[in-house]
Amino acid sequence: MDLSFKALRRSYENGKSVASVLEPLQAAQKENRHNAFITLNAVDYPDFDPSKKLSGIPIALKDNIVTKGIRTTAASKMLSNFIPPYDATVVTKLKNAGALLVGKNNLDEFAMGSSNENSAFGKVLNAHDSAYVPGGSSGGSATAVAANLCAAALGSDTGGSIRQPANYSGVVGLKPTYGRVSRYGLIAFASSLDQIGPLSHKVEDAATLLEVISGYDKNDMTSAKKEVPKFAKFCEQGVEGMRVGVPQEYFDIDVDNPHLSKGVEETIRASIVALEKAGAIIEKVSLPHTSYAVATYYLIATAESSSNLSRFDGVRFGHRSSSAQTLDELYQKSRSEGFGEEVKRRIMLGTYVLSAGFYDAYYRKAQRVRTLITRDFEEVFQEVDMLLTPVTPSPAFRFGEKSEDPLQMYLEDIFTISCNLAGLPGMSIPFGESEAGLPIGVQLLSPWWEEGRLFQAGRQLELSRGVE
């Protein structure tokens, strides 16, 4: 069944009922074969309303986006019984646009992970081959789309958490410009990096969703007072004359970095050819500070998360240890019991990074490098209109392959992280396949607030693969 927004709308316009579309999906959601959902919402079947952009469109939400009256867990034991008293701004916007919010997707606990193996609710399976990880942290969202359990999903991207699972699962994943989408109601991982964005079957659907969820929000001081363009229009504009940069540092990777797999390299080459054919001009460019991105990211993201996660203390909500005798024990036991291994690792790392005597060497220095990385992009976007890069060095890996070695896992983010550090928009679009038949995507990065270009080039890549 074609679950693209256009196809769904066409069937509703032809008289199909919302119930007839939704019922089979709900059956499959209930079966939850890939463990992509933590909670399914009770959905009633409204009549199709043509005045609403997303009327009757079934959309899933990563379970770190709070929903009023619906349990929101962030895939953590800490919040396994947490029922928020309010809706995230994106949720309100989706509801107003007529979307059907079908359920809450599994993820790496508090969005910390690249394989969706760190969930208190169990791992998520890759929709293409259940021996493989779906990617993370928005693994449940990517899988829910890839397995045709919903038309689209919202995820969150802090260092690649939308684009990487989209890449592993063969769907479109977009991380908007920092400040484009309100973070109000997103359970924070790293506030200066987090951004909510869509995962979808088609580029156009990502554009439509972005249009709906974007805009200044008085509840989020980091959201920008920027006009929201009609993003879907960009899908029809092609790439004629567009200058596309290919950063050399993403290919000449050094000893610290894993090599590009054959499939990934071939996919990139093919996408270059496709864009050139469509009239784009390909240029080699340089982003000299690329090799510092992973280290910089893991200092800043962990520092912010160590503070963001302090509110989970067992005092007001969330898990409280039943065996604590003193106040210190209340904190220690509630947090030790409530958080998983990876979350604890990052809290400890972040606490260390901010500690007296280490702040200058780690946090402050990382902020300086972050500025240099941002400057790299400012300079490169003087020369080109957008960038084309791999999303990850390799396609999806098998369960357990990297979970024993956190560093190897962190290096999965090497191509997606710089984008968050600089606050840029980026998109992952399926374009190839590995020898094992797993999907491989490419990443497009554009200047701040120029998501439209991503839709132009993304749609062009779809067209060249014969996607309707």
């Binding site: 008293p85 359970i187 001081m221 509110r311 007296a356």
Partner: protein, 479 residues
């Protein structure tokens, strides 16, 4: 041991709750004294996913404090997170300012015993208040009230420029007057709107700075004075006995009059300050700054100066009148209504009005400044004398009538008719030849005659005329 050989060095950190309608990062009201946990929005609870939204009023208030204390205003400044765990701190961090506070490098001049004194202001920063914990005695239960959580504060940090508890109290009184004048804080120490931490150390005269102890959360001027004096004495005693002062945070127990350890330096938190990524830097334009500067009212120091130069008041009088904004307002309104004798008006306010009402309540005093001016006008044109004026003042406390109406109704007009006075004096001399005799030996007896005349005339006689006539008649040769 002699305190004479020692110098006390004190710096203060004052927390002022800002008098805004709503909290610093949420729309919840800041009303004091409401039922626990009712003045709370989801932001104040630190619910997952909520974000702080700055109440712009707070910036204006903090800048006013900075300008009044002659600080440099940092037109780009940022909020930082101060991380620690406590049940009344919902987010596990307090939003404050660290490296880039809104105001720095100011000073405050004030008078103590007629001497002028200057204290440097290191910085003023904005932050949110925590909630309130109460621990039920004898029970393993602690209660948390988050009504106060998120109430805006400015913390005003001074240089260690004070050398005695009296200086600290004078500094705090002046500071409190200023925030009240600015209308940014209600100054209520009991309710915790204005609270002081004092860093106290001692050293031999001229020696290097000693190790300091921080005395936390003292909520009255008296306790501040007692706590500092006790703490300085404790440190001197300790050092003279060969001990060392440990750097620590101490609390004051007013019942026992002592300070005691709250936590040692080793137990001190590492607050892991870092810029709050949820809040963009605050940028203040030149125009905004100028607009706020123009809103600044006349401050106590300026008022004292003006009262002395324009009204020829004494240093003491101008200090008392300017110390409280309401008293100054009362004085100035009264002068506006009757401007001939400001010194007399000042005396009446200081001696009579402030005996009847608290300075802060003077705005609601039954005898309004205009009514008082009416009374002083009657004094000035000699319609009544000073003694009768006090009687009229007493009566004004219980009626709404003007001084003039009371004087007319009760026939209290002063008698200056010398004929009437003379006849009383003549009778008195006739009836008391013995006293007249005594007077001749002891002229001090005049007072007794004055008293008798006044008594006979129900206090209404013009005392100057009484005096003149008495002296003249008593000194006449007996007939």
């Amino acid at each position: 041991m002699s305190m004479q050989d020692w110098e006390i060095v004190i710096g203060c950190e004052v927390h002022c709750q800002l008098d805004t309608q709503t909290k610093i990062f949420s729309g919840a009201p800041t009303t004091f004294g409401m039922e626990a946990n009712t003045q709370v929005a989801s932001v104040d609870l630190g619910l997952p996913g909520v974000l702080p939204v700055l109440n712009e009023k707070v910036i204006g208030f903090a800048i006013k404090a900075g300008l009044a204390l002659e600080c440099t205003i940092n037109q780009v400044n940022e909020f930082a997170r101060k991380n620690y765990f406590y049940p009344d701190l919902p987010k596990g961090y307090q939003i404050s300012q660290a490296e880039l506070p809104i105001c720095e490098h100011g000073k405050l001049d004030f008078f103590l015993n007629g001497q002028s004194k200057r204290v440097g202001i290191t910085r003023i920063h904005m932050e949110e208040d925590a909630g309130k914990s109460s621990h039920l005695s004898g029970k393993p239960i602690s209660l948390v009230d988050l009504n106060r959580a998120g109430t805006p504060l400015v913390e005003i940090v001074s240089e260690p420029d004070m050398g005695s508890a009296d200086e600290v109290v004078a500094y705090l009184k002046e500071l409190r007057a200023i925030v009240l004048y600015l209308g940014i804080c209600d100054g209520n120490m009991e309710e915790g709107s204005f609270r002081c931490d004092a860093n106290v150390s001692v050293r031999k005269r001229g020696a290097e700075l000693g190790t300091r102890c921080e005395l936390k959360n003292i909520n009255s001027f008296k306790f501040i004075k007692d706590a500092i004096n006790y703490e300085a004495f404790r440190q001197v005693e300790l050092i003279e006995a060969g001990g060392l002062v440990r750097q620590e945070t101490r609390l004051y127990n007013p019942d026992r009059g002592i300070t005691f350890t709250m936590r040692t330096k080793e137990e001190a938190h590492d607050y892991r300050y870092f810029p709050d990524p949820d809040l963009p830097s605050i940028v203040i334009s030149d125009e905004e700054l100028e607009a706020i500067r123009k809103e600044l009212p006349e401050l106590p120091a300026e008022k004292r100066e003006r009262y002395q130069s324009s009204f020829s008041l004494s240093v003491y009088d101008s200090e008392v009148l300017a110390a409280d904004k309401h008293v100054a307002q009362y004085f100035e309104t009264s002068i506006d209504a009757f401007s001939k004798t400001p010194k007399i008006t000042a005396n009446w306010i200081i001696n009579e009005v402030l005996r009847e009402t608290k300075a802060s309540d003077v705005g609601h005093f039954t005898i309004t400044p205009t009514r008082l001016a009416g009374l002083i006008a009657l004094l000035d044109d000699k319609t009544i004398n000073g003694k009768i004026a006090k009687t009229v003042f007493e009566k004004m406390l219980t009626t709404a009538a003007s001084a003039e109406e009371i004087v007319s109704a009760e026939g209290l007009r002063q008698v200056s008719d010398s004929g009437a006075i003379e006849s009383v004096v003549d009778r008195l001399i006739e009836e008391n030849p013995d006293k007249v005799e005594q007077y001749r030996a002891k002229p001090k007896m005049l007072g007794w005659f004055v008293g008798q005349v006044m008594k006979a005339m129900k206090g209404k006689a013009n005392p100057a005329i009484v005096n003149d006539i008495l002296v003249k008649k008593l000194n006449e040769e007996p007939k």
